[in-house]
């Protein structure tokens, strides 16, 4: 299912979301071999980070709770994986970056650019590092504007997508701020919450970080709503993310206005094969309605 996105050609509208199997070229390659259209790296910043101790990812009945804490090997290591990936695959790779300060976003982008990723995704919305960095930058319009401008400046002709969360002063408003400051796309959404689960026998929070972002089926309605509102408010394309597990969920995202749909937690529920399954489901949907491509129904719920 060929899909165009900005200046890119993808073999499927499905993308591997940041933080899922995106640490190494070899695992990203494996996902592409399973019909994923493009891959996003785990978010990286300047220096290596160990992240939070385990348990850092725990399933509950309706999704996952995670507080990985943005562990990553640092930008210089991360771009080596991007370069390796580009040697073994033609699929677009999106570099996900973050910084602990606004300036750091610029510095990390500078390093990322060296590997010539097909898109830079700017994570301003991770809820797990709130306590360390204060409010996520993505909740503050001025910070998000500044980061967008800074990364765009460094990125040259590499397109930039800003990854927003459903919290803060309203995702539609924040998306507009990004668009006005030069963003080429919006990724919506990051994890929701944060949340906490307590073990009633040991009477302690289960995550070592106590709180963590909620992903998976539980958050699908919030993601669909976010994409819908962003689509109404901006004209740049959207990478819809959050709770997509079955092909019907992906279709909802596209009807809400997503140009690409990215999957994270679904890999846990359905295995790496989930990309194949969802592609096939979307294909059936196209045939049933006589559509030629997903563009024929994108935003159709408005």
């Amino acid at each position: 299912m060929k899909t165009n996105f900005l200046n890119l050609q993808l073999n499927s509208p499905l993308v591997l979301a940041s933080g899922i199997l995106g640490l190494t070229a070899s695992s990203m390659k494996r996902v592409v071999d399973n019909s994923c259209g493009a891959v996003t790296t785990k978010s990286f910043n300047l220096e290596a980070r160990k992240g939070h101790p385990n348990p850092s990812i725990v399933p509950f009945e309706h999704g996952l709770l995670n507080a990985v804490g943005l562990s990553n090997p640092g930008a210089e290591e991360a771009i080596k994986e991007i370069e390796r990936f580009k040697q073994v695959s033609d699929a677009p790779v999106f570099a996900s970056i973050f910084g602990r300060t606004i300036d750091e976003y610029g510095k990390v982008a500078e390093i990322a650019v060296k590997a010539k990723p097909h898109l830079i995704e700017v994570n301003v919305s991770c809820p797990n590092v709130r306590s360390e960095f204060g409010t996520p930058f993505g909740d503050v319009p001025e910070d998000t504007a500044a980061i967008t401008r800074l990364v765009k400046q460094v990125a040259g002709d590499i397109p930039v997508s800003i990854k927003l969360g459903p919290h803060g002063p309203g995702i539609a408003r924040m998306a507009k701020v990004c668009e006005e400051n030069g963003a080429d796309a919006i990724t919506a959404i990051n994890t929701v919450g944060p949340g906490m689960l307590i073990d009633i026998n040991v009477q302690k929070p289960v995550l070592s970080n106590k709180t963590g972002g909620v992903s998976g089926p539980a958050i699908l309605p919030i993601a669909v709503k976010s994409v819908y509102e962003v689509y109404k408010n901006v004209s740049i394309p959207i990478i819809g993310t959050g709770g997509v597990t079955h092909w019907q969920d992906a279709v909802q995202m596209i009807l809400a206005g997503a140009s690409l749909v990215s999957l994270g937690t679904a890999v846990y529920y359905e295995g790496i094969d989930v990309f194949n399954k969802i592609n096939m489901g979307i294909q059936t949907y196209l045939e049933k309605f006589g559509y030629e491509s997903i563009e024929d129904f994108r935003g159709g719920a408005h």
Binding site: G19, I20, L21, G22, L23, T24, A25, S26, S27, K29, R30, D33, K42, A48, R49, K50, G51, P53, N54, P55, S56, I57, V58, P59, L64, V68, S71, N72, P73, G74, E77, L197, D199, N201, V202, K204, V206, S208, G264, T265, V267, Y268, G271, I272
Partner: protein, 255 residues
Amino acid sequence: MQTFPIQKIVEHGPGVKSFYFEQTFEALPGQFVNLWIPGVDEKPFSISCEQNGLTEISVKAYGPFTQELMKKKVGERLGLRGPFGHGFSLKENSLLIGGGIGIAPLRRLAQELSDLGMRFVSLLGAATEHELIFKSHFQEISTCYFYTDDGSFGEKGLVTEHLLQIIQDEKIEYIYAAGPEIMFVKVKELIDPLSIPYEFCMERYMKCGIGICGQCVLDDSGVRLCVEGPVLNQDDLKGVTELGKVHRNATGRRE
């Protein structure tokens, strides 16, 4: 996440203990659980035995986590998630090569093979006698060869010392190994020319245990050790370029 009180603790010797929990699931030999010490951390451990309604885990004190574990008492609750991963296949006339705490998953394998009446031979090594855990158990159900670094039990030396000889003498048709990575490298070197099929039970730093974080993925195969492993066979290992070399730490950096 579910937590369970420790039902029983057996000390094999200084710094090596088995912990028993009520058995709430059935694991295949080679599968592992994530063990959570509330307030501390969570790490992967092989299941070393399932017997009398109990699930056993055997641990060697090493770093901060396992040292903390050594302090736990019967009745204290630990989190147990799993079983995770893909276990051993079950073959006739096999050789079980275990190094150190790697003996733990092999004990569960030996139990299963023996229950099925399949012949196997055990080749076990460790630093010193008390780290040759379950040696009497192995002796009861199989021919055994023992090695220790200090010569306190069995022969002094490494399990690889007379490996080729043992394979020949015992008419070995399949090899299982679990232990330090350096042991795999040596074993592989020795047996690859023989084209005897084999399976290694490997270890990598793990975060999620459920195949999504990418932490345990092996270069260049893309194999997730927590899902497609921890037991890999010679075909799985063909694509693995990092055996015995650098691999990823908690940050994902190679070291």
